[in-house]
């Protein structure tokens, strides 16, 4: 067993380090830190609950003619609401789209708070991973948006738990039912959307797609279009109770015939056919391998090697602990204790969401999660919980390296730090990173030259240090009269706030800041 360095864990297994963070792991306690992280509760920690309760998210309703009404600042009331509460709210919203979409917007806003503030960072990273794995476009339509918190709750309840349990819960939640059209499927007229994607994206993976028909020598190894059609028959009748939004099986629209699926004969047994099918998928070695590979790709490197010892080991653990309530945590422990993880420094480039979260975390002041964050991410090509196709956003770096995405990344940092954007709420006297830039540790306030601020910004934002070129670029930038390059700026709190914000945004734009350890 190889424990990772604390610095790698801190950058790779969190949404980003925070300067002078007393709770960060060190090389003496990294083992305990990992164990505590992997045993995280699925409920929000007190500081997260408190921050979520303080959020007031803008809501702009429309009148009967569709004209916008004056904005209201409302608390997040749907993020923990159960299915039937969400369903009742959706019905009472009628055709009022802003009301329908509000629950999804609350989950978007809450995700920023949770990712930035949770002490259980590995848990939050897994929430992010499963949201992508079981991608649902949150605002695909009014029904998906109105019921979207039910999906988020399913993900959060099982993020470090058991994959089979998670798979079934996702399959039965209203937002997935509506997003992939399972709710409309019947035995007489099947809709194959969910039946296909549950195999291609959620379990076996496209590499186990065999084409239109299954060759006789490959029965059971993967799925063909015959299996897709059989799966649609098996799942016909899996739908949503229109009175309360909960899962229901309707025998009347199910064909009571035996089915053949992945080489198994599934006798006619109503709802149990689907239960059996998901069990076959969840216990398939291809699913074990796909889950292990996805964990590796998210947490170690973009391109898993063809023969990775730790992927094989994780897939073995997956199958060995098929029904364990901490199956996923066990796989993760294996991954974090691997030589491959320990040697992966520099291998992961921040996604736009990870970039924004790492900046929010390192600035470390109160966060007001406005919809401007959603816009920034959409510009970078990573729309928050709103990736359209069901494959989820790519977990590799090339899409985020495009010049348009990079320009928007650099611009987002500036916008985030700009005083009137209103996402970062500073106290007086300044707290968080702004306080750390104003003086050296334990010393009184002292900022008399832009170079001091640069040195402190590097020390707090770039734990791996900066190259000489980066340092010199920052020094030149900070010394310019538009940033921190005059005593008049340093003496004027308004101008200083702008200048320090520009400096922080510039450090966030350095090559060093773009990597997760």
């Amino acid at each position: 067993m190889t424990l990772p360095s604390a610095s790698l864990a801190c950058e790779r297994l969190t949404f980003g380090p925070i300067g002078r963070d007393p709770t960060a792991p060190n090389n003496n306690n990294i083992g305990q830190w990992l164990m505590a992280q992997l045993a995280a509760p699925s409920t929000d920690a007190p500081q997260v609950t408190q921050a979520l309760a303080a959020v007031r998210l803008e809501f702009v309703d429309v009148d009967a003619n569709g004209k916008p009404l004056p904005p209201q600042m409302l608390p997040l009331t749907y993020i923990g609401a159960n299915e039937s509460t969400l369903w009742t709210a959706m019905k009472s919203a009628g055709s009022d789209f802003p009301k329908q979409v509000r629950p999804a917007q609350e989950i978007q806003a809450a995700s920023y708070i949770r990712a930035a503030l949770s002490p259980y960072q590995i848990f939050e990273m897994m929430v992010e991973l499963w949201h992508c794995h079981f991608n649902i476009q949150a605002t695909a339509n009014g029904t998906v948006a109105a019921s979207y918190p039910a999906f988020d709750q399913v993900i959060r309840a099982n993020a470090l738990g058991n994959f089979h349990t998670l798979l079934v819960a996702v399959a039965q939640c209203a937002p997935m039912m509506y997003y992939l059209n399972q709710v409309q499927s019947t035995g007489a007229h099947p809709n194959e959307n969910f039946a296909r994607e549950v195999m291609e994206l959620h379990t076996l993976g496209a590499s186990h797609y065999l084409g239109l028909t299954t060759p006789p020598n490959l029965v059971g190894t993967g799925y063909s279009d015959q299996d897709v059609q059989q799966a649609a028959q098996i799942l016909a009748g899996w739908t949503i109770d229109q009175t309360n939004g909960s899962f229901i099986f309707r025998a009347a629209i199910h064909n009571n015939t035996a089915k053949t699926f992945l080489g198994h004969t599934i006798p006619s047994s109503g709802i149990n056919e689907g239960v059996t099918m998901l069990s076959i998928l969840a216990s398939h070695p291809a699913t074990a391998s796909m889950v292990a590979t996805n964990l590796y790709r998210r947490l170690v490197a973009d391109t898993p090697p063809a023969k990775s010892a730790v992927i094989s080991a994780m897939a073995g653990t997956y199958l060995q602990y098929l029904t364990a309530p901490n199956q996923i945590a066990l796989m993760l422990h294996q991954l974090f204790s691997s030589a491959e993880f320990a040697a992966s420094s520099g291998a992961k480039f921040k996604t736009p969401f990870e970039f924004l979260m790492s900046l929010l975390r390192v600035v470390n002041v109160t966060i007001n999660p406005t919809a401007a964050l959603n816009s920034m991410l959409a510009q970078m090509g990573d729309p928050r919980y709103n990736w359209g196709p069901p494959n989820g956003r790519p977990d590799i770096s090339p899409p985020w390296l495009g010049n348009g995405s990079l320009l928007n990344r650099w611009a987002a940092a500036e916008e985030l730090l700009w005083p009137t954007t209103g996402i970062l709420v500073l106290q007086t006297p300044w707290n968080g990173l702004f306080d750390l830039l104003m003086h050296d540790p334990g010393m009184p306030l002292n900022l008399t030259h832009s170079a001091q601020a640069v040195a402190r910004a590097i020390a707090n934002m770039l734990p791996g240090g900066a190259t000489a070129a980066t340092t010199n670029a920052l020094l030149a930038y900070a010394a310019s009269p538009q940033v921190l390059g005059s005593s008049a700026i340093l003496a004027d709190p308004t101008k200083l706030r702008i200048g320090l914000g520009l400096l922080i945004a510039a450090v966030a734009a350095t090559p060093e800041f773009q990597f997760r350890g």
């Binding site: 809709n191 194959e192 084409g211």
Partner: protein, 403 residues
């Protein structure tokens, strides 16, 4: 202040020099006159080509789906693939006008000859220009591969416009510009530009991602400088919609009108995965596509630009509709070819028929490899088709679409 970029590219410099010319003024750049810009529009999600363009009196089609998913009330199209009553969806008046004017040709029953009904596999193949999934990673995207093979160069030579991230078709090794919208393609100040030039002067490590980041960052800085000289004061002509395809095509027109060196463009419109309620969703998607292509065509042709634009989707949809008033994933599909040099106003390809026995397990058979259309366009309009650009492509019967 070092605002001039070290690796300021030749194309960008030329573009800056021409930026002062009035719209419509054209200069022929030496060596590029014969190579017409080629634009590729990918309709992600699987467009129902039979709802867009079909023989509406086909009894098999009528039996397979509700009337709302057959374009019977649409525009009559001469030059169909059979003697049947071929029609174009009524929400596409701009496409009808271009077809009637002979600038739009339609290929039907085209597609990727690979037996998959997966969006992601088929998009990967469409973008790789391949028919074997095991080769796509090695091959990369076909646009990037073609650009490299024919030494296409210049800041805007390879661009993905109206899309937020680089598509696989253009890869990440060819300096492609990706621009979601014109307004955001900028930096906040010259000092920030200078800072980024200094910070990204060389990679921070030998790590391949760090190397790629440096290259892409420098491409971004060069493209921003070049684009600002074009875009300052530019007014998008009326007629474009507010969708991403319209955004992308309006930027393409802007680059073409300024002779900024756009050679190969990628565009997307992703609103086609109509498993449900297709009759309600499809017409507006068609209208958006048609309006965007019409606005673009008017914009560039009024300025005298010559360009070839090819539209395809990763697959068509099943002939028979499902219970939800939608259609599931299918196979063969239409392709659109817009060009001042195409033999338009007619259809190309071979119609396989829609009777159950004529289908590919219920789906429209692919009789024309979509890559053949791309190959003919490259050969005719750029004159430099690299051998084996599209692996295993064999042409049984040339379409001879271009004159």
């Amino acid at each position: 202040m070092p605002t001039t970029r070290r690796t300021f590219l030749k194309g960008a410099a030329l573009a800056s020099a021409f930026a002062a010319l009035p719209p419509g003024a054209r200069l022929v750049l030496a060596g590029t006159a014969a190579k017409e810009p080629l634009l590729f529009v990918l309709l992600r999600g699987g467009t129902d080509g039979l709802n867009l363009i079909a023989p509406v009196d086909d009894t098999n089609l009528i039996a397979a789906r509700p009337a709302a998913l057959i374009p019977s009330s649409g525009f009559g199209l001469a030059g169909g693939l059979t003697k049947q009553n071929w029609r174009l969806h009524p929400s596409a008046p701009e496409l009808n006008a271009l077809y009637q004017a002979g600038q739009l040709a339609i290929v039907h029953a085209a597609g990727i000859p690979f037996a998959s009904r997966s969006h992601f596999e088929m998009q990967q193949l469409a973008e790789a220009g391949a028919v074997d999934l095991t080769t796509t990673t090695t091959l990369g995207g076909w646009i990037g591969r073609y650009a490299a093979a024919t030494a296409v160069s210049g800041t805007f030579a390879v661009s993905a416009l109206g899309v937020a991230t680089l598509p696989f078709s253009e890869g990440n090794d060819y300096g492609a510009v990706d621009m979601l919208d014109a307004a955001h393609f900028k930096l906040s100040s010259p000092v920030k530009m200078a800072f980024l030039e200094n910070a990204y002067a060389s990679p921070i490590s030998n790590n391949p991602i760090a190397t790629a980041l440096t290259k892409e960052a420098n491409d971004a800085l060069g493209a921003v400088q070049a684009f600002q000289s074009i875009n300052t004061g530019y007014v998008v002509p009326p007629g474009y919609g507010t969708d991403s395809l319209s955004h992308g095509l309006s930027i393409a027109a802007e680059l073409l009108k300024h002779n900024a060196g756009l050679q190969l463009g990628e565009f997307e419109y992703n609103n086609w995965d109509t498993h449900v309620a297709q009759a309600a969703r499809f017409p507006s998607a068609v209208a958006t596509l048609s309006k965007a292509l019409g606005a673009f065509w008017n914009d560039v042709t009024a300025a005298g630009s010559k360009v070839t634009l090819i539209v395809m989707s990763e697959f068509g949809r099943r002939i028979t509709s499902n219970a939800s008033g939608g259609t599931d994933h299918g196979h063969g599909n239409m392709m659109l070819v817009l060009s001042t040099s195409v033999g338009g106003g007619r259809m190309y390809g071979k119609w396989p028929g829609l009777a159950p026995a004529q289908t590919d397990l219920g789906d429209l058979v692919v009789t024309t490899d979509s890559r053949q259309v791309l190959m003919e366009a490259i050969t005719a309009r750029r004159g430099d088709f690299p051998a084996n650009l599209f692996p295993t492509l064999t042409v049984q019967q040339p379409l001879n679409m271009f004159h």
